[in-house]
């Protein structure tokens, strides 16, 4: 049996993330157990890893580092051992080189770029980028297979004021329009990150979760 671990470092409620993964796992053919993991030892047993995060970049980073050896184990599993990884919201942003929310804070440096406040020229659109938006494909990827995207496609639920400005175009899977092109999905090797909340995105979210649990990078 495979194990999927959702990392809990005290950033917020993971109940709906857990329930969404559990629901998808129960409907798939895969023998997969979904668990919430709170320490490095439990994380080491996981075949797939999900890192959700809400709140500020700096708070999430501090929260992770407070747990003994967790950051080191995470980096070892994801970077050296190639375990499939999904970062959600701030969990995606943490993969950047740095985040500029509140105090400049170093990220994992897994995907080149930095996380900065969304700066819109017009005063018409609002920040936070809050609500349902569509996704436009920049690079194809297994994670979006069989999901209807583009202008008339399915919607994802977003709520954020900071954007992951990435350096290498090849890491960009989808963007979402909000005056500028916001980074909505990134990937590299065995790593995926989504700015939106799949656990709150009804159809699109559950399909994406299904693709992640079936993904062999």
């Amino acid at each position: 049996m495979e194990k999927l671990g959702i990392i809990d470092f005290g950033s917020g409620n993971l109940h709906s993330v857990f329930k969404a993964f559990e629901l998808v796992a129960s409907k798939s053919n895969k023998d997969l157990k979904v668990e919430i993991v709170k320490n490095s030892d439990d994380l080491l047993n996981c075949d797939r890893i999900v890192l959700p995060g809400v709140g500020s970049f700096a708070d999430c980073k501090t929260g992770l580092e407070k747990i003994d050896c967790l950051s080191q184990s995470l980096s070892d599993l994801v970077i050296n051992k190639g375990r499939p990884f999904l970062g959600i919201c701030v969990g995606m942003q943490l993969m950047a080189d740095q985040g500029l929310e509140n105090n400049p804070t170093k990220g994992f440096g897994w995907i080149e770029g930095s996380v900065e406040l969304i700066n819109l020229k017009s005063k018409i659109l609002k920040i936070p980028h809050m609500g349902w938006n569509t996704l436009f494909i920049e690079n194809n990827h297994k994670i979006i297979e069989n999901i209807d995207l583009g202008e008339d496609g399915l919607h994802a639920y977003f709520v954020h004021s900071y954007n992951f400005y990435i350096k290498k175009k090849e890491n960009l899977i989808t963007t979402s329009h909000h005056e500028i092109n916001l980074t909505s999905m990134v990937a590299r090797d065995n790593i995926i990150g989504v700015q939106f909340h799949p656990e709150k995105s009804q159809k699109l979210g559950l399909k994406l979760i299904n693709n992640f649990i079936e993904w062999s990078p």
């Binding site: 609002k126 920040i127 919607h155 709520v159 656990e199 709150k200």
Partner: protein, 257 residues
């Protein structure tokens, strides 16, 4: 681009929906979780629970309702009513709320909003303001904030106060017209428009919806980012999908997945 949101709102007292909800084929029309599931299926963009439980000892019931809803509805959930302390915000978020709406406490202690936004992030802090129009005769309309269901005046200008709330970190403004609430005669469009064009965060229009044209007007004329309604959905007059199809016909971008 972002779609205009439709948000059904449920008043919950001691874990039960009040003001009656009248759906067909519902085993328990008073159970907020059952109703939330239906709105989820109909394609609601968010659900809002307003906890009106008065007695302190019964206030914990809402947590179980939120948890059970978040387990079954994979959509955003906003919860308000009696939120006064950082611990209240934390407990609601931990139960499964995505956003917490702060009303009276924002008026009596504005810095509470700042503290909550600093602690949990602006993305989950909604400030709910109830306003009544004053100086109705004059050309330049203004609106005053009222608390306690419209009973208490505050002397505060709602637009100026909302701007201050945004400065303090509010991520969204839920604006209710006390003149229109319960009248089914449509939103206070002038107020909604003034608010939407004055603050940099999304605005949810509330109070007065009696038909689908009112919802569309809140977006088109009021420039709101989202529209909130209760009775027109609760009594089964319209489904969320019907509302969205109507709005789409009016040229509004809505999500129909």
């Amino acid at each position: 681009m972002l779609k205009s949101r439709i948000i059904p709102c449920l008043d919950v007292d001691k874990g039960r929906v009040v003001k009656g909800v009248n759906f067909l084929d519902l085993r328990d029309a008073g159970d907020p979780v059952e109703i939330a599931k239906i709105y989820d299926l109909q394609g609601a963009d968010e659900i809002c629970f307003l906890d009106i439980t008065a007695s302190h000892e019964d206030r914990g019931i809402i947590f179980d309702i939120i948890t059970r809803t978040a387990e079954q509805c994979f959509m955003p959930l906003t919860v308000g009513g009696g939120v006064r302390t950082i611990n209240d915000v934390r407990n609601l978020l931990l139960a499964g709320a995505d956003k917490v709406s702060i009303n009276t406490a924002a008026i009596t202690n504005p810095l509470f909003v700042k503290e909550a936004a600093d602690k949990f992030g602006s993305q989950c802090i909604v400030v709910a303001l109830d306003a009544k129009k004053i100086n109705k005769e004059k050309e330049n309309s203004s609106w005053e904030i009222y608390t306690h269901g419209g009973r208490n005046r505050t002397g505060l200008d709602v637009i100026e106060f909302a701007k201050k709330m945004v400065e303090y970190g509010a991520g969204e403004i839920l604006l209710t017209s006390m003149d229109k609430d319960g009248t089914r005669s449509g939103f206070d469009i002038e107020l909604t428009n003034k608010m939407s064009t004055s603050v940099s965060v999304p605005v949810i229009a509330s109070g007065g919806v009696g038909n689908l044209a009112h919802l569309a007007s809140g977006i088109i004329n009021g420039k709101a980012d989202a529209v909130l309604a209760a009775s027109i959905f609760h009594f089964g007059e319209y489904t969320i999908l019907e509302a969205k199809e109507y709005m789409k016909d009016q040229g509004i971008d809505v999500r129909i997945d």
